[in-house]
C-alpha cells in the first residue's frame, strides 16, 4: 500500500484545481479491464460501412485505410452496440464472453 502511495505525486506536485494538461489523455486511461463480453471481428462478412465505428461510444473500433481491422480491447467496454448496429445479415461482429475469449487464447 505504502509503495503504491509513493508512486503517485503528492499534493504539492499535483496540478491545482484537478486540471489535466494536454489533450487526448483518455488514451492512457485503460478502461477495458472490466468488460464481461468482447466483440470479435469477422472480416469476410464486413462490407466496411463503418456503422460500428460511428456508433462505438468508446472509439474502440480500429479503422485503417477506410477499413475496419479490429477492436481496441484496452478501451472497449463490451457494450455490444457495434454488433447490434452492424447491418450485415448474420453480423460481421460477434459478441463472445471474456471467459470464452480467454479459453480460446489458451488453445
Amino acid at each position: 500500500m505504502a509503495t503504491e502511495k509513493q508512486s503517485k505525486p503528492g499534493w504539492k506536485k499535483l496540478q491545482e484545481g484537478d486540471l489535466i494538461i494536454g489533450g487526448g489523455t483518455a488514451k492512457e486511461f485503460k478502461t477495458g479491464d472490466w468488460r464481461s463480453k468482447r466483440p470479435v471481428f469477422i472480416p469476410e462478412k464486413c462490407i466496411n460501412c463503418l456503422t460500428c465505428w460511428v456508433y462505438c461510444p468508446d472509439s474502440a473500433v480500429i479503422v485503417k485505410d477506410g477499413k475496419v481491422v479490429g477492436f481496441d480491447y484496452e478501451h472497449c467496454k463490451g457494450c455490444g452496440i457495434c454488433e447490434h448496429e452492424c447491418p450485415v445479415k448474420g453480423k460481421a461482429i460477434k459478441m463472445i464472453s471474456e471467459k470464452e475469449a480467454k479459453a480460446n487464447e489458451k488453445k
Partner: protein, 392 residues
Amino acid sequence: MAKSNILARTGNEAMAEAMRQINPDVVAAYPITPATEIVQIFAGYVADGLVDTEFVPVESEHSAMSACIGASAAGGRAMTGTSSQGLALMAEMLYVASGLRLPIVLADVNRALSSPINIHCDHSDTMMVKEAGWIQIFSENAQEAYDNMVQAIKIAETAKVPVIVTTDGFIISHGMERIEILDDSVVKSFVGPYKPENYLLNFDKIITVGALDLPDYYFEHRRQAAEAMRTAGAIIMDVASGYQKISGRSYGLLEKYKLDDADCAIVAMGSTAGTAKVAIDNLRAKGLKVGLLKPRVFRPFPKSEISDALKNIKAIAVMDRSDSMNGQEGPVCLEVKAALYDKSLNKPVLDYIYGLGGREIRLDEIENIYNDLFEAIKGKSKDKITYLGVRE
C-alpha cells in the same frame, strides 16, 4: 481627490459601481431581494455600453453560478450577486468553483433563510456556506462594500480562491451613504488584466477541467484547496496594502476599535460593528474601557490575529447574527472560543444571538451587553448564550 469622486450611494449601488470599474468578462445572475439591484444596475451598464461584459440572465442561481464557473474555466473574469435562498441554491456549485480553483467574485447581500420566509438581514445565508472553500469578507457599510469588491477580484485571482463579499440586507444594501470611489483608470490598473495560466479557450494548450478524482487523487486536491485557504490571509493583507496606496483607506483581516486598553470587548461583523462603535463612544465618555473587534475576513478565519487582539481583554461578548442550530453557541462565537483555547486564554465569553430576520439591534442593547461583561468580570454569572431582543 476630485470632488466628483464623492458620491451618495446605497450598498447595492456601491457594489454595482465597483463591478462597472472592474469590467468583468461575464456576469451571470438571477434576481433576489435584497441583492437584485446590484445586477439590475449592472445590466443597465451593459445596455448602455459602459462595460464590455457579457450579461447572462439565467433561470436560477444554480445556473448563475454554473455559468460563472463555465466562463471562469474558459478564461474569463466572472462575477455575480445573490442573497439568501439564492445562495442556498448556488451551494452545490460554490463547492465546484472552489474545488476547480476558479477566482469568481460573488456579492452576497446577507438575508435570513426560510422558513419562515423573510427578506431581511441576518447572516444565516453566508454562514451556511462557510465550509464551501470561498473566502468571506464582511462589509460594515457602503464604503467598505465598494472597497471590498475592488480588492476581492485581485485577492481571488492571486489566491485562485473564489471570494464572497457581503453586505447586510437593507441596512447596507438600501441605506444611502457618502462614499468615495476611485477613478475608473485607477481601478483598472489596480485590478489589471486577468491572465489565467490555464483556461479552456486556449487552443494552444489543451486542458481537461473537472475530471473524476477517485480515492487515489481526491484527498490530494482537497489538501491543496485547504492550503490555498491557509495562505489566502497573507494575500488579503498584500492586496490591502496595495489598496491603501491608491485609496488611503487601510484594511486588514480584522479591525480594532478602542480595543487595546479595553476591559470588555464585543466581537461583531457587518453593520452592527458600526452601531457598536457609537455605543463604545457613549460608554467611553462615561469612563468605561470598552472596545470592539470586527472580523472583516471570516474565511480564512484569522485565528491567531483574533486571539492576539483579545489576549488582554477580561470579558468578551460575541454577537452572532445567525444561529448554528447545533444546541450550542452560534458560529462566530464557537470559532472565537476555539481561537482563545489554542492560546490557553480562559476568560468569560458570552454569546449573543441577535437580529435574526432583520430584528432591529439598538444602541441601548449593545450598551447592556457591556454591562453584562462588567458583571461577568466580577464573577456574577451570566447566561452563556442569550437570544438578544427576542420576546420571551
